[in-house]
Each structure stands twice: as C-alpha cells, then as structure tokens.
C-alpha cells in the first residue's frame, strides 16, 4: 500500500514536472574554480532543435521541452561545452563552462580521419592529419603527399635525390610553404627544403588551393601548404621513431614535449638519417640515389600567461645534409680539386653540402577576452648555405633572410572582423656559379660562368602593408584582402585577394577564390635540374618578378553513408595565368638547328596558363573501412620562343589515387593500400617529343599498435616501376640512356628529364614509441 502511494506521488510529481518550464543558469568557471554568470551563452537541445540564449545573468528557460531524452548543451565561444542529458522531471540545472586552453584547436569527434576537407575554412583546404601521416612511412614532408592527387611529388633530377612538388599543374616554387604560419623554404632553401622536414615531427599538414590570405605575403601563386609541428603542450615527454629499409637507409627521430609549469612548455625534436649503401638497379653506372647523411634539430618554446594573457613562442632549428651522387665509382672528395680531376679519371660525380640555422619569435597580445581584439607579431631569421658540384658545374650560395610581420585584429561585431598589418623582409642571396669547359683536344679546362653577371643573387628589401576584412554569418564567409609591397628590387606591387564560402546547407558548401601572386624567381634554386646537365646555362635577359592571377572554385557535398556522417564528394576547378614567368627552354637549339646545345632561361612574354580539374570522394562504407578516391586532370600551356603555345614539358596530365584503409576495432591493426595512376607528361622536342609512359604505383603498409608502441612494415613501389633512361647522353649515335663506359662529361649529358620513379620496390619497417605524461 505504502509503495503504491509513493508511486502515485512520484507519478504526480513527474506529470506536474513535465508540465513545468525548464530553467537553467550558465556559469563561466575560471582556472581557480571561481564562478561568474555566463551572459548570452547559447543553449541547445540537440534532438528537439530548440535553442535559447542566456540573459546577462546567465539565466535561460525553455517553455516546454518536446522530448523525453534530450541532450542539452550550453556553449560559449572560447569556452568548453557542458552537457545535460535531460529527462522529464528535471526542472533546473546549472551549466559550467571552462576556459578553453587551445582557442584554435579543431574539435574533432569520433575516429580521426586521415585526410579530409575542412568544412570551416573559407579556402579549399585539404588536411593531412597525424593519422594520415602514419599511413605511409613518410620519412619527410615530400613523401607525405603520396596519398594526395592535389600535390604530386617528383625528383628534380636523377642525381641529387632532391624532390619537388607540383600543385595545380605548376612547380612547387609557386606554393607558399608555411611552418605554423611563418614563411619558410624560400630562395636557396626551396629545392631541398621538403627533405628537411621529418614527417615524424609533424602533427598535421594543410594544403590550401588558390590564392589565400594576404597576411603572409603574396608569394603563394597557386596555393599554400602549412605544417603544424609537434606542440610544446602535447603530453608526450618522449617519442622515439626508428626506421629502416631494405636498401640500408636508416632513420631515427626523437621528440620530447615538456610542460615545465603552467606557463612554460617546450618541445625538442631531433632527427638523424643516413643512406649508407649505393646501388644501381637500372645498371646505368649511376647511383640510383645519392648516399646521404642528414642531421636536424629543432627546439620550440611556448610561454602562455593564461587564457586571456600574452602568448610568446620562440624556437631555433639547425640542420646539415651531405649527399654524394653520380657514377658508382665516384667517392667523396673526388671533385674537391676541380672537375678536371674527375674528367681525367672519367668519373662523373656530384657532391652537395647544405646546412642552415634559423630562429623565430612570435608574440600574441590579446586586449579583450577571447582575443577578439589583439596584436600579433612574428619575426624570423634564417641562414642557409648550399655548396654543390655536379660534374663540371659548381654552385655555391648562401643566404641571410629576415622577416617581420605585425598585425592588429579586431571586430565591429560578431559578423565583421578586420586585420591590418605591416611587414618587412630582407633577402640577401649570394651566388657563385662556375662551369668548367673541357677542351677535349688539349686536355685543359677553363672557367665559364654561364650567363655572365646574371647569377648575382639578390639583395632585396621589402616593406608591405595589408588589410583584410572578413564577413561571416551562418551561411556566408567572405574574406577580402589587399596588400601593397615595396621591393628595393622591383618597386611597388599590389595584390588583391578574395575568398568566399557559402553553405547552401550544412552539407553543401561552395567556395570561390581569386587573387594575384608575385614572387622573385631564383634561376638555379627554382630549377635545380639545370645543374645536372652538360649544357651551358644561358640567361638571356634580366629576370622579372613572376606575376600570376589564380581563380577557382570548389563544390563539396557531404553526405551520410555507411559509417560516416562526413562522407564527401568534391569538385575543384582552378586556373592560373601568368603575366610574367621565368621559362627554362631545353629545345631552343634543337628547334633552330643550332649545334650549341645550350639551355636557355628567359621571361615568358606570351601566354602561360594552367587549368586543373579535380574530383575527390571519401567514404566509410562500414566500420573501420575507409576509401578515398581522387582524380586530377591538368592542362598546362606555355608559350616558348619560336615554338608558340606548347604543353608545359614534364607536367603530368592526370593523376588518380585510390587509398583504402581498414582498421580493426580500436585501430589495433591498420592495413593501408594506395594505388596511383600517373598520367603521361609531355616530353621536350629534343627527346623526340611525344609523351612519357602512363605508369601505376602501389604502396602497402601494415601497422600494429600496442600500448605506447606502433610497429609498421610496408612496401613502396610494389610494381617495381622505374623510369627507363633517366639519364640521357648522345655519344655520337643519337640520344639514349647512359651506360657504363659512356663519356658522362659530354655536353649532351642530361639527368634532369625525370618524370617517373627512380627507385624500385622498397621494403621497410619501423617502430614508434610514445610515452604519455602521467
């Protein structure tokens, strides 16, 4: 009896309660646990789509909640969310919102996708996450793009092992490289730069296509690649990675993130790698890849005064790299006494020594809560030294570069943000280029310096001012920027840029972009292949600043299918068109019938443009199984002297990539398979014209995870596809692949016509050990 009365009372209360309003209050809780009302916080009921806004004292109410099990979330920008699982009977609840330490952290739920398209960015941004970086061995940044069709990676030449990327049908020199939003890999540092960013140091990479913001300068013509390194705040006091391949290439990485107290933290990263054995799988008498020894060290600091306080970041990085390439018999030091020595022994060799050091300082000062009004400053300095010999060519260069950028950000209201800034840059590049001309009859050599005084480096001081305005509402984001830079070499240049994103629905997003990019060309550094040929380099005129407009757009449709709510289908189109561009012309003498056999460098006065179309599809049909398919088609045209408008040589016309991954429950086992179909690339006329072969590439990797330990094994280039005749020579009976015994010192020697892989099938294995802070 008692029980039933109780039940009756309970039911009555319950019924009465459901009829009642729900009231709540939202608080901010600071680091010391003190509470204050969270005025104007937002509260939503997920299932019933009801929303409320708290008043100035943090109070809010719902007249009637239209469901029985409702997830009620209170939120405020810059603070964590607080959730209540509402049931009938609850009439009052207090929500506590905590300061969010990392304001800019992307909030990702569920399993981390390896590659995805950002939904929030106004610019078409492809993100490769830590999970994506682990899909392949990714020894360095260059190798981390194998899963991407947007970016293709290839060798600069068949000797130095330098890798270059291509984006939107143009060389990677037109992509601005950023390290946590500081410009890097400029000038001499660009040709080998990608190899000097160990993949295991990275947390994520963002690839943005099209002209992006004006804040970091105008140098990105076709896009921008930003990389995020391991963070000082990561709770990983120790990370160790060891890697080995069947060709006796070793690599080790070690990283340590330490939080010294609640304000100071640091991350230390070190890398060592070595290619210890030379091999010649294609039997052309040349090392397939140079012997290598690379050391790299980086230390980054963060001082964080608190959620709304000053943030200071600074760091220093140093590296050295030595490469020895060329014919199998070539040994270190043989070129030291001049190439004539090498010629006498008939051994063609290449030695490259690069080293550098750089430092940076970043300061952010928020004036208001959440950093809405703030001042930020970035300053960097870098020194880079390159000392290279390639057969008969010697190139020594060093550069000092300094950069400062200060910006002020504020907003009128939530919809209108603006940024103003001022920037300064100093590029001091010194070059010394020499080429020995060997007189075959007299057994003597003389120095020839190619294009006269045109390899004189650059001494450019730049000062720039810019403004950027961002309008945002629920559907539309528009970013409009204008920048003017004054260069001591080049005068005033102006670049407007605009990016607009419109969300028709939450799942259908359209982006449009357009703008101008300008940069100083670096004849040798942008075209490293010039060095690995026997031809004289002939610079015909003073090289102008390269200047291009890029326009494009993207449509992305997200949809629910299988296991993922964020499956997507995306389509891109971009067009870059140059007003002025540096052109390297290998065909001029062939076309005019001259027997000089030079390679010519000049400004393209005519047309130069590229059109790129791309489709991406990402799905997760069932749990743990993801598939990403992407296809790119490129039309790249350039007008060359005496040839008219031709296909840009060595630029592959299409690329398809299919990546499938299966991860068992809890990702304890991960299986990855990637297939690429690389389209044909137009060949220069002197090689007979036509196109290169279409070739597939396959990669596979298995990763087993234990607590704190990953073990991985994999194979690259499973099909063992190698470009035939990567090094060309004409010893009297026509242009053909070089063989042992051929005279490599002939001026027809050419190792820079590379369009395919130079390394055959490669097996590798490695471990990753991660300790977590207790």
């Amino acid at each position: 009896m008692k029980k039933s009365i109780l039940l009756f009372v309970y039911l009555l209360v319950a019924v009465f309660a459901t009829a009642q309003d729900f009231k709540g209050k939202v608080f901010f809780v600071n680091a010391d646990g003190e509470k204050e009302p969270a005025g104007f916080a937002t509260v939503i009921c997920v299932e019933t789509r009801q929303t409320a806004e708290a008043d100035i004292d943090g109070n809010f109410e719902f007249k009637k909640i239209k469901g029985e099990n409702v997830t009620m979330i209170a939120s405020f920008i810059g603070y964590t969310r607080d959730t209540l699982l509402y049931r009938p009977g609850i009439t009052y609840h207090e929500f506590n919102l905590h300061d969010e330490n990392e304001l800019n952290a992307l909030v990702v739920t569920g399993r981390q996708d390896a590659n995805y398209l950002s939904k929030t960015a106004a610019i078409r941004t492809e993100v490769i996450t830590a999970a994506g970086l682990c899909k392949m061995a990714c020894c360095n940044l260059a190798e981390s793009f194998e899963n991407s069709a947007s970016v293709s990676v290839g060798y600069s030449d068949a000797v130095s092992g330098a890798k270059q990327i291509k984006l939107l049908g143009l060389s990677g020199t037109y992509v601005q490289m950023l390290d946590e939003n500081k410009p890097i890999m400029r000038g001499l540092a660009s040709p080998f730069g990608l190899s000097y960013i160990p993949g295991q140091w990275l947390e994520s990479i963002q690839i943005a296509k099209g002209p992006s913001s004006v804040i970091n300068g105008l140098e990105g013509l076709t896009g921008l690649i930003n990389m995020e390194h391991r963070k000082p705040t990561a709770e990983n006091p120790l990370f160790v990675n060891l890697f080995m391949s069947d060709e006796l290439m070793f690599e080790g990485n070690i990283a340590s993130s330490l939080q010294l107290n609640d304000k100071w933290s640091t991350v230390i990263m070190a890398h060592a790698s070595a290619g210890t054995k030379d091999h010649d799988m294609n039997k052309d008498g040349f090392k397939d890849e140079p012997l290598k020894q690379h050391f790299n060290f980086d230390n980054r600091w963060l001082y964080n005064a608190g959620p709304d306080g000053v943030q200071v970041r600074f760091g220093v990085k140093a590296f050295s790299d030595e490469r020895i390439g060329g014919q199998m018999a070539y040994e270190k030091g043989m070129n030291d006494h001049g190439p004539y020595e090498g010629y006498k022994n008939n051994i063609w060799g290449s030695e490259i020594n690069n080293s550098g050091i750089d430092g940076y300082l970043k300061v952010g000062i928020p004036f208001t809560e959440g950093g809405v009004e703030s001042l930020a400053m970035v300053a960097t300095y870098s020194y880079y030294n390159m000392d290279a010999s390639y057969g008969t060519k010697y190139y020594k260069g060093y550069q000092n570069m300094a950069y400062i950028n200060a910006m002020y950000q504020n907003q009128n209201d939530e919809n209108h943000h603006y940024t103003f800034g001022i920037a300064g840059q100093y590029d001091g590049i010194h070059e010394d280029f020499r080429e020995m001309v060997i007189d075959f009859d007299k057994y003597s050599a003389r120095v020839y310096n190619g294009g006269g005084e045109l390899f004189k480096g650059r001494d450019d001081k730049m000062i720039g001012v810019y403004g950027e305005y961002t309008y945002t509402n629920e559907k539309l984001t528009a970013v409009i920027g204008l920048r003017g830079d004054y260069h001591s070499q080049g005068g005033w240049v102006f670049g407007p840029r605009a990016n607009v994103k419109y969300s028709f629905t939450d799942d259908l997003i359209v982006r449009v972009t357009g703008g101008r990019g300008l940069r100083h060309a670096n004849i040798i550094a942008d075209n490293l292949g010039l060095l690995s040929s026997g031809r004289h380099i002939f610079v015909e005129e003073e090289i102008k600043m390269e200047d291009a407009w890029t326009f494009g757009g993207n449509i992305t449709q997200y949809f629910k299918w299988g296991e993922s709510e964020n499956s997507y289908l995306s389509f891109d189109y971009f067009r870059s068109s140059f007003n002025s561009q540096l052109v390297v012309d290998w065909d001029k003498d062939y076309i005019t019938g001259s027997n000089k056999n030079n390679v010519y460098v000049y400004n393209c006065d005519g047309r130069s443009f590229t059109d790129t179309y791309q489709v991406d599809l990402s799905v997760e049909p069932f749990k743990g199984f993801t598939a990403i398919a992407t296809f790119r088609y490129t039309k790249a045209k350039v007008e060359m002297d005496g040839q008219g408008l031709v296909d840009r040589p060595l630029m592959s016309k299409y690329k398809g990539v299919l990546n499938i991954q299966y991860a068992t429950n809890l990702n304890k086992w991960t299986f990855d398979v990637t297939g690429q179909l690389n389209g044909p690339a137009p060949l220069p006329q002197f090689m007979g014209g036509g196109e290169s072969e279409v070739y597939p590439m396959f990669f596979a990797q298995v990763t087993k995870k234990f607590k704190g330990l990953d073990i991985y094994v994999g194979v690259e280039n499973i099909g063992n596809y190698i470009q035939e005749n990567a090094i060309l020579i004409n010893n009297g009976d026509g242009l053909q692949g070089i063989k042992p015994g051929d005279n490599a010192f002939d001026n027809s020697f050419n190792a820079s016509m590379v369009w395919g892989p130079l390394m055959g099938r490669k097996f590798y294995g490695g471990i990753r050990l991660t300790l977590w802070k207790k």
Partner: protein, 106 residues
C-alpha cells in the same frame, strides 16, 4: 599488368579480412556490456591521451572519446573488467568521470 594483379589481390585480401572481422564482431557482440562516462575531456590533447591508453585496458572491446560531448564510451567484456575499474583507469589518466545512465524505455 603484373602490378595491377598484385594490387587487386591486396585489395581483395583487405576486403575479405575486414568483412570477416565484421562478421566476427557481430557474432560476439551480445556478450559485451556498454558504459558511458561524462568527463572533462575538452581538447584534442585529452582525446589523444585517452585514445592512446584506454583501448589497452584488458577486456575493453571498443572505445569512443568525444570532445564535443565530453564523454567516454566503452564496450567491454564484463568477465574481464568492471565499470568501476574502467572509471578508475579514466581517473588515473586525469579525467575522473561520472557514469551517465540513460533512462530505460518504458
């Protein structure tokens, strides 16, 4: 195209493997229990820390860590591990949590 054949073989192998793993999951599923904790997991760093440790607790069959909802969901084998033990492991990582009990449907 020898390479293409190798690639196809690998694709088929991965598919078969994943499908059989799926089938196994389905067979075993009813034996396991589930629990959700509410914990102050507010950033990706916290999530990464949980994702690195929680799957390796003996008896845990599946884990979902949500930053958005600040929850940790476990599927576990009750003969090997208890709710209390899971809660304690979570607390040891620095995220003491409360169990979220959903109302049973009537």
């Amino acid at each position: 195209m020898k390479a293409l054949r190798i690639f196809t073989a690998i694709v088929v192998a991965v598919l078969t493997l994943s499908l059989s793993a799926q089938a196994q999951n389905k067979k075993k599923a009813p034996k396991y229990e589930e629990v959700t904790f509410s914990a102050h997991i507010h950033c990706n760093n916290c999530k990464a820390k949980c994702d690195a440790a929680l799957p390796y607790i003996k008896g845990v069959k599946d884990v979902k860590v949500s930053v958005e909802e600040q929850t940790v969901w476990f599927k576990y084998d009750p003969t090997k591990v208890t709710k209390q033990k899971l809660g304690a492991e979570l607390a040891e990582l620095g995220y003491p949590g409360k169990e979220i009990v959903k109302e049973e449907k009537k």
